[in-house]
Subunit: 326 residues, 4 copies
């Protein structure tokens, strides 16, 4: 397959991924995990809901936790460059036959809601309440020292279709995996903000949220979190890592929150702002694409994900399985 190409002059300007809302069953347990252990900062807190940000974020929140009966993800949120870009986005999605609505979100300006062709619920806004910088209030640093949200990773039933859709709205592929037999995409990492990705897709039953990732200062922050989780009752929540990804070159760890939502902790990828930055292609049979050091991911990592509220899940178009050493 030819290298997927982004639209360099997209119909509207998305700055970056911004936030996601996760439904959790026990908000107190989630607070212990995300705030006391992981180290997120509380922007706003009310009965059954928590708005959190990372230590360098000035946007009001990058993670919303909302108590509910079943673990679930709501919309994936993106920030656009200007208020006008929201209207351009609405126009674009309508022209694609996608459902468009204007919704109210707390701490956020006018917000456009839609779904991508695979069914992923998306929301776009330009203005969010801005908070004072706290990145030099080092007394707040604890846990893994989460600095900012880095990316979403979703299962897609048709990665080629997902990439085509996001390419058109300006997402650029940084790295991708191809299934050699079918010459179809197995997975792709796409960005707007100049890192390896804001959004990644992997072939699988979907749409489902595979994980949300937060950026941390150094690999040692990740080792700190491992030591802390391992000795405060969360050893069973450590799913995969630490390791270095072949794809993205990032140092990573995957943990599961008390409801099973998967969080990646991530650092050390690279700058991709050049418009002529060439995507790196990986072979589906190369195990180093997943872990440069060779250790395989556990079965749960390949299979489990978070459902999106109200979104039906389907089987993927591509049935081949990635080679995983047991």
């Amino acid at each position: 397959m030819p290298v997927p190409k982004a639209n360099l002059y997209p119909p509207f300007n998305i700055v970056r991924l911004s936030h996601v809302e996760l439904v959790v069953r026990d908000i107190a347990a989630s607070r212990r995990f995300y705030v006391d252990t992981f180290g997120m900062q509380v922007s706003y807190e009310d009965s059954g809901v928590l708005f959190l940000r990372g230590l360098e974020e000035r946007n009001h929140h990058s993670l919303i936790l909302r108590q509910g009966p079943e673990p679930m993800a709501n919309d994936l949120g993106f920030k656009v460059y200007s208020d006008e870009d929201l209207d351009k986005a609405a126009h674009h999605f309508k022209s694609k036959g996608l459902p468009v609505s204007w919704i109210e979100r707390p701490h956020q300006g006018r917000t456009l809601r839609t779904r991508d062709p695979g069914g992923l619920p998306l929301e776009f806004y330009h203005e969010m309440k801005r908070l004072e910088p706290i990145h030099q209030q080092y007394a707040r640093y604890r846990g893994v020292r989460p600095l900012r949200i880095d990316h979403f990773n979703c299962f897609s039933t048709d990665v080629d279709a997902s990439v085509a859709f996001y390419n058109e709205i300006g997402f650029r592929v940084a790295e991708y995996t191809e299934d050699e037999t079918s010459e179809r995409l197995w997975a792709a990492w796409m960005h707007r903000k100049g890192g390896v990705h804001d959004m990644a897709f992997t072939n699988g039953r979907g749409p489902r949220l595979h994980h949300v990732a937060f950026w941390v200062p150094t690999p040692l922050s990740i080792i700190d979190l491992l030591d802390l989780m391992a000795t405060t009752g969360y050893v069973g929540n450590i799913e995969r890592g630490p390791g270095r990804h072949g794809i993205s070159n990032a140092f990573f760890l995957y943990v599961r929150d008390p409801d099973g939502h998967r969080i990646e902790i991530y650092c050390s990828d690279y700058l991709t702002v050049d418009p002529d930055h060439e995507p790196i292609k990986w072979n589906l049979k190369d195990p180093q694409r997943q872990t440069l050091w060779g250790a395989p991911a556990p079965k749960s990592w390949f299979e489990e994900g978070t459902l999106f509220a109200g979104v039906e899940v389907r089987d993927p178009v591509l049935q081949a399985q990635p080679i995983v050493a047991p």
Copy 2:
């Protein structure tokens, strides 16, 4: 003074700073410093000239060393988004009454040369020869493990004027220092690529190049370089640091190359891609803006810089001196 505001729809699209050429007196000595000790990768080498890149750069070069009689800096290079942006840039600079010429540069597409109103020589291009990724060839990692060029820092005789000029072409101020008495800018850190800066200006005799900075993985890379330079004959080339800047929050070290050109090694600043990202203002009397931990910079750091080839140096408009503890 009101917070300096960038033009959010600039007349042409600059992606990032890209490269600089330094004139050195002994190319072999420079090679020992930059390649063998510092860890830059050689892209091309010929009699009296070296083209170097960082470990994650795919552009052919970010640093050119050229042998000559006197240490000097040539043009500061910037990459633009498309070939068409070069024509728009030419038009813009002409409209400002600035000198514009089209020049030939090796390994680089068509290139526009101009000067900023303060006299700084600038060049803009869209295409540069691209090389294979080497960031996962870890056998190449040595020295401080330079990943990529991060920014230029220049003395300006009129920081208000510099900021106004670069604001107009889309550079956004991330942080700045104001002289409270005159309400004029003392220094400003301006970016295009989404970090704290691509370009910074400090009040002083100018235009002169204060330093070129390279991004490294973690503070421990900087400690490695200190140990290495201190025991391989370069202890006298260590000028300032290691430390954390108040401004930018970066972990830093300043070293001088064999010709006295100042190189900053830099990591751990923060993401600034939001168009509504608020600049942070620092008081000229706050010593923590320079070193969060309180240690003063040496006199040489305030006074010395590299001349630009063929550019006359003038005294600054603003005469007040920054408060520096002895």
Copy 3:
């Protein structure tokens, strides 16, 4: 079982473990691994033999590689406090009915050879050729930056008997695992030099050498080695880790050399010099004793080891298997 107690006034004074000789099939391949990749320093080199030391060692060598037809380990070497201690040691081993001989070793003073009751070949010396300090020659630092040999770990067919023997000659148990059913020791970590161990024993077919460990500066040195091995043809030689041991609290990695000899890279254990330092007891059923973060070791790690030259291997007294998650 009662906590194993060291003889606080042993019959002779062992300072620390010192060195081991490994037989390798291709000395050039071993040199590429240990010197070029791992980072050991060459003290002496001749046809078919390499004497190596770590970066802070002044003893002539801590690792000898000798070319031979089959991978094998020769004697485990220990340094005693004084020349007189060698005679006391000879007397002690004779009184136990163990074979004693005086042998010649290159770069080493008079050397006493014996076997422990389980058959492990041991040698003791007081004087070894001393070399100039190189720990501040940072240009030599590469690979994992091995600073010094840290410990041996051996399979023992009867850990209770091994511990009793080494307790009597002054080794103190820092941590141990007990099989709750039989109330017998499953494994023990014993030291002379004030860290967690100079020598560890694990129940299994023995005597065999499980691994030799080298001390490195920080966990980041281990990450560097992983990146380097993974991209220079050694990805298959990475066996287990990185991780934190429950026992010892050390940050670790296990790799296999080109002949399958297992090397541990180890840092961050704790000081144990107090004579009343209490051993820590672990339950055989607690998986966190092996990896604090929960990830299981691979099967090879439990089963494979290096044979000692000329030493017959027997089945262990204790047949229960450690619980290992698949």
Copy 4:
């Protein structure tokens, strides 16, 4: 001068330095500094007194803070190998004509008090209350993550005499500085426990306590403390560093507590257990002995120290001043 030689069979067996008591003027302020910021763990607390330990220490305390009218240091505490060693120590000190008394200390067995010939108050004990291990309770890790006390450093009026006295009781010199002109010792680093020092002496008005040092896991722990102190009101308490010492090769930072007592944070020195470990000699004129990277120490670091309670201070025998770049 010939290299100072330790008595390899000293009259009694000192295991290591153990603890010190500092008099502070405001125990609440000291608690904020040592416990909340620095990260020491509270073993016992009562009106006007705090007993603290590091995270890997099982001894009840390594630092006692006691409220009093003037900042002061009381006895330097050392642990001996056995109860019998206390009697041997009493005998030895009496034979030297030094004052000897048996005193009561809380949480500690019988305790011998004396002074060294320069007037330094010393106490020796064998038994101290032992506490449960907490080094794997990672939720307790904060601040600089102090693991254990590492050494004392004192001004001595006659370093030759100090070294001779401590050599006789088994302390070995790891590194030393000689004044070339007088051929007298300027400073010496002496150990019992197998690191670079338990006790160091520097020429100066004395006896005074220059600093107490605590061992931390990695240089990044020190960077964390700098960030924290710099942003919680302690920026003025950062005195020197971070840096690497030439002598000891340790990565260091010096801070002052609220009463001006100097604390060193220290990691990465080397193992010195070999009885034939050769001392390293440094020239008083070599500035890299103090900071390998070349940065000079501030004036306060050379001049200020803590008085010992009830001990008169005298001028040093040796008047030459160390060369310090301004």
